[in-house]
Amino acid sequence: MTEDILSATGLVRRFAGVTAVDDVDLSVRTGEILGLIGPNGAGKTTLVNLVTGFDRPDTGRVFLDGHDITRLSAAQRSRRGLVRTFQGARIFGRLTVRENLVVSALPRLGSRRRAESRADELLEYGEVTALRMTPGERLSAGTQRIVGLLRAVAAQPSALLIDEPAAGLNEVESDQLSRLLSAISENMEIGMMIIEHDMKVIMSLCHRVQVLNHGRTIAVGSPDEIRRDPAVLTAYLGSSSGNAHA
């Protein structure tokens, strides 16, 4: 139990009319990639918001490396090693690509110089060194996603939550991103959770998959188990969104 780098128990979040997250548990181990899937409106983003401190649960608790972080602000959680990305990349438009990464590396590394060399390493790693002096707003959507991911990694998180990294990317960009994600998972001491509608990405990357529907967990298991789970099939076929390319 304490091996989980990130865990949550009994999370509930009600909005007027809907219970977006309804008694959800979550656990992510170091070295693991957990996939979080579910039809549109299932509560995935809300769950990430609750875990990372961008929203407050009505009940439930969040633990990072065994410590209760439920009452910490988003920025405090981030400085402790819990970092997220966003459905839109949210790149700092008038900062250079390199500065985007330096901002992220600074709280952990303290010195500007060390943050810069960390940023340069990661730019190399993501094969975007040529863009280091380009303002973020000039990047294509696909490149913004990659930079957004590298920026999150620059914070040296112990747990990283990634919201729809491949949405809107073409095949080539999506493959590049998948390779980057699995490289990060293999080379860094990190537990990851990925929200993604593209089942190809989920099935190839994830060690475990958790399925949400109407705010509730309806299945947790290996990608193979999830593929065959009757409740999951019903949820996807029964929903009008039909977004899962399973």
């Binding site: 008038r94 250079t96 943050a115 303002p135």
Partner: protein, 337 residues
């Protein structure tokens, strides 16, 4: 080597970290002073006041530019600097007769300026605690309230400030050379802050506060640091103003001054240090030109209306001002592409 302006064209990566921005701006100001001294000595006093303006607007830019929050209250810090310098440098004998209630502290001129900056920074540190939790327009309005508070304190604490009639006989005077030196100091302080991790984190929060939080940026704290740094520099400018003008009253640091400085920063470009400097120079030029018009036509109001028009036109045609995000730098021929 030539001084060039780096344009933020797609192919040219703007590199605001370029080391040479401060030397280039200092050189520009030195050239302006040189021309005035040699060719237009009747404008020496105006130029000294313009340099006071440079220190102030550069100080204000370090908050407004990096945080993205416009301030209508920084003139309050100028007032604090001006009164500190006045109180600590008016000669003992004069003080006894004119302002018997003033504290009997005497400081040499440069120290008086620094003391004014420090006092302004202290006030910013205190009022910043609640103020820097506010966002956007609410924060701007909060700074406006600060301006009104300091104005009314200056007006009513007669014993210390001389009340609404103000203060006179601040004897020192401010030479063009000293004003230039202080401008360079201000530029260096603000540039150093801007290039620090704190400045960078604040600019990130300006671009996207949610993303900045997700990376651990403590936004209120970073804003607060910026507020204190900028208050220090604006406090310095107040001390310079006291020395340059010799006399002033609370209304010297109220709406007209605030509007003038905000216009300078908007027109020059709030996101650029070069913009702050060019804003002061261009608006000063405009103001002096319009004064000539006022005298010729006997129509008072041309100056204020002309400046307002400059601000309006900038907001409409070039919202990020003359400079946008570009900075003046030295570059070898061709290096700027």
């Amino acid at each position: 080597m030539t001084a060039v302006i780096k344009r933020a064209r797609p192919s040219v990566a703007a590199d605001p970290a370029h080391w040479s921005t401060v030397p280039a701006l200092a050189l520009l100001l030195t050239l302006v002073c040189g021309v005035v001294t040699l060719a237009l000595p009747q404008y020496a006093a105006v130029t000294v006041l313009a340099l006071v303006g440079v220190v102030f607007v550069v100080g204000m830019q370090s908050f407004a530019g990096n945080s993205g929050i416009f301030s209508f209250g920084h003139v309050a810090f100028m007032a604090i600097g001006a009164y500190t310098t006045a109180i600590t440098t008016i000669p003992e004998a004069t003080k006894k007769i004119l302002f018997p209630g003033m504290p009997e502290i005497a400081l040499p001129a440069p120290l008086a300026l620094v003391a004014g900056g420090l006092l302004a920074a202290l006030v910013a540190a205190l009022v910043g605690i609640p103020l820097m939790r506010l966002n956007g327009l609410a924060a701007s309005l909060g700074t406006f309230a600060l301006l009104n508070i300091v104005y009314n304190l200056a007006n009513n604490l007669d014993a210390i400030t001389g009340g609404s009639t103000g203060v006179s006989s601040v004897a020192q005077g401010l030479s063009l050379t000293h004003a230039l030196a202080w401008s360079a100091v201000a530029l260096l302080i603000v540039w150093t802050y801007q290039q620090s991790g704190h400045g960078l984190a604040l600019r990130a929060a300006r671009e996207d506060d949610v993303a900045a939080q997700s990376l651990g940026v403590a936004i209120a704290r970073e804003r607060h640091i910026s507020f204190v740094v900028s208050a220090f520099v604006c406090g310095l400018s107040g001390g310079m103003y006291a020395q340059a003008s010799g006399s002033f009253s609370p209304s010297s640091f109220f709406l007209v001054a605030t509007f003038g400085f905000v216009t300078m920063l908007v027109v020059g470009g709030r996101l650029s240090l070069t913009g702050a400097v060019l804003g002061v120079l261009s608006i000063t030029l405009l103001r002096e030109g319009l004064k000539v018009v006022e005298q010729a036509t006997q129509y008072t109001g041309a100056v204020e209306i002309g400046m307002s028009a400059a601000m309006l036109l900038t907001l409409l045609l070039r919202p990020l001002g003359l400079m946008g995000t570009a900075e003046l730098v030295f570059a070898r021929r061709g290096e700027s592409r």
